[in-house]
């Protein structure tokens, strides 16, 4: 094959791939502006004849989408802030503080990764029912407040901090909390950003656990609300596309803005430690 043909082939394939990857997203956006019923015609229209915001109005005024959006924001932010705090502390301890059984405990945590999270879900539901957290924001947040993946990521990163920094501060009489807050945390900033984006996206997109623990509509997050709408309004494609836009747009924008950190974290997390 001549280099010119190879070049055309490779770039042609990339263009084709990008079209397949993006088409459903662009189609969703376009249909969300169509009049009710417009998308159910042949040939399938690509662009709205008369663009309207009616579907969005319908979603927010009648379908409770505003509540779902706020719920999602609240739950995802809660999980992000709490898990970031706890994972940072634990990851730092595993990387830099000395205590008996450190390596063995860490190996144990990594070993626990082979257990699928769903195994815990049935008893977890009973436990939360017992302490009264079923159908509440806390019920969604509480199990996500720490993750082995997050601890692992922080530990990998924190191991690069030179011990001399902490030792010098200890000799100067600084307490362990002050060392953590004033010396370690600033150095961990890049991994904090990465982990925050990861946690937020994962919490936002999570489906099975919120579906189980949220039994009433008033606490539904967007994916649960959308799934329930999709079962009721399966014929209203325009409305459902608007709902999908509301669900996906926030995370897509967040990803585009912070892409570098996200992809870095993905690679860090996939390196076997």
């Amino acid at each position: 094959m001549s280099p010119r043909m190879a070049k055309a082939l490779i770039n042609g394939l990339l263009i084709g791939g990008a079209v397949i990857a993006l088409f459903p997203l662009l189609w969703m956006l376009s249909v969300s502006f169509m009049q009710p019923g417009e998308a159910s015609s042949l040939p399938p229209p690509l662009l709205p004849a008369h663009a309207t915001l009616g579907n969005y109005r319908e979603l927010f005024v009648h379908a409770g989408m505003g509540t779902y959006l706020l719920n999602s924001l609240l739950v995802s932010t809660g999980i992000t802030v709490l898990s970031l705090t706890f994972n940072l502390m634990a990851g730092y301890a595993f990387a830099k503080l000395h205590f008996a059984g450190r390596e063995r405990l860490f190996q144990g945590l990594i070993g626990a990764l082979v257990i699928p999270a769903q195994v815990a879900m049935l008893p977890l539901f009973l436990l939360l029912k017992y302490i009264g957290l079923v159908d509440s924001y806390a019920g969604v947040i509480v199990p996500g407040m720490a993750t082995v993946f997050g601890i692992f990521l922080v530990r990998q990163y924190a191991r690069g901090i030179p011990d001399e920094l902490m030792e010098a501060a200890r000799i100067d009489g600084a307490g362990e909390w002050r060392i953590f807050l004033q010396i370690v945390m600033p150095l961990l900033k890049p991994i904090m950003v990465t982990l925050a984006i990861f946690s937020f996206l994962a919490a936002w997109n999570d489906f099975m656990w919120p579906l189980i623990v949220l039994t009433g509509q008033e606490h539904y997050t967007l994916p649960i609300g959308l799934a329930s709408l999709a079962r009721e309004h399966s014929q209203d494609s325009e409305l459902m596309m608007a709902g999908s836009v509301v669900t996906v747009l926030p995370v897509l924008v967040l990803f585009l803005a912070m892409q570098r950190y996200y992809l870095e974290g993905l690679l860090l997390g996939s390196v076997k430690g």
Binding site: V31, Q118, P123, P143, A227, A230, R231
Partner: protein
């Protein structure tokens, strides 16, 4: 010295969360799977009885469990190779020195990964609608008769596999891309001078150099694909004719629709055991493969 105590204070919040909300429930799940915990026990715990392995025994005799396992294995066996092949292909295209606008293509191909499964599944339901869907419309131009993608028991699972590949391939693509970039270019230069074809270079340089990455990625992808749930929940509700009921879908229905928590826990544990066995087998086979190569 209170250094030890400080360390444990730093660890405490995360360990308490993981212990209380993960480890403890896993142990309880094992215990639960040995009981007949159902809606009567949910109302009054005195109705709970120890039934030893009878949940497992009954499950192994239920055709629905075997068909759910079959559908899940089908999804894994076809979905994982297809997904990884697409990821590797896309990564090789992005890694080619001839490719243009790489950052744009990388972002575009990765975009489906960060989206919400439920929202995308809703979109696919319309794109694969029998009557008005874009898929049938485009295929119609090539003389293909309309396919009832999600309504035909033979097509529903392939459609879900296609969806999963589209949604997930970008993730492994990024990992493969990093692996490809770490392969020294000299190796390819030397092979080309020796007259190796593109296929030979792929077979004898790219694949062996990616070896460890391929193994890790395949294990992670297999465990991920075994956990199929949201896609059938939104796209087909496990149907038609239960042709897309996965093991986790069965667990969900058993546990949270019929409130048979004992039997549902047994389903969860069986899934865990199967996943563990498959992963162990993959590790073992790859070790033997290495031995044969050497």
């Amino acid at each position: 010295m209170n250094r030890q105590r400080v360390a444990w204070l730093f660890l405490a919040p995360a360990l308490i969360v993981l212990g209380l909300f993960f480890l403890l429930p896993v142990i309880v799940a094992l215990a639960l799977s040995l009981t007949d915990y159902d809606i009567y026990a949910l109302a009054n715990i005195h109705n709970l009885r120890f039934v030893a392995l009878s949940n497992y025994w009954l499950l192994l005799q239920r055709p629905l469990f075997w068909s759910a396992l079959g559908h899940t294995v089908y999804f894994v066996a076809i979905g994982v190779p297809l997904s990884m092949g697409t990821s590797l292909g896309a990564a090789m295209l992005l890694n080619s020195p001839l490719a243009k606008m790489k950052p744009f293509f990388r972002t575009a191909l990765f975009a489906p990964v960060v989206t919400t499964v439920v929202a995308m599944a809703v979109i696919w339901r319309y794109l694969f609608n029998t009557k008005y869907g874009m898929a049938n419309y485009v295929l119609g131009h090539f003389g293909v008769h309309p396919v009832d993608w999600l309504g035909d028991p033979h097509w529903a699972m392939p459609t879900i596999i296609l969806f999963a590949v589209w949604k997930n391939f970008g993730y492994n693509m990024i990992i493969f891309l990093a692996g490809l970039q770490a392969i020294p270019i000299d190796l390819y230069e030397a092979a080309r001078i020796d007259g190796a074809s593109a296929w030979q270079q792929f077979r004898h340089i790219t694949l062996p150099m990616l070896g460890p990455t391929l193994l890790m990625v395949s294990i992670l992808t297999v465990s991920g694909y075994f956990q199929l749930f949201a896609e059938p929940y939104v796209m087909t509700e496990g149907g038609p004719l239960q042709s897309t009921t996965s093991v986790l879908y069965l667990m969900y229905e058993e546990g949270f629709k019929w409130w048979n928590l004992g039997s549902a826990s047994a389903v969860a544990f069986l899934l865990f055991v199967i996943m563990f066995a498959v992963t162990a087998l993959m590790l073992r086979l790859s070790k033997r493969g290495e031995g044969a190569d050497a």
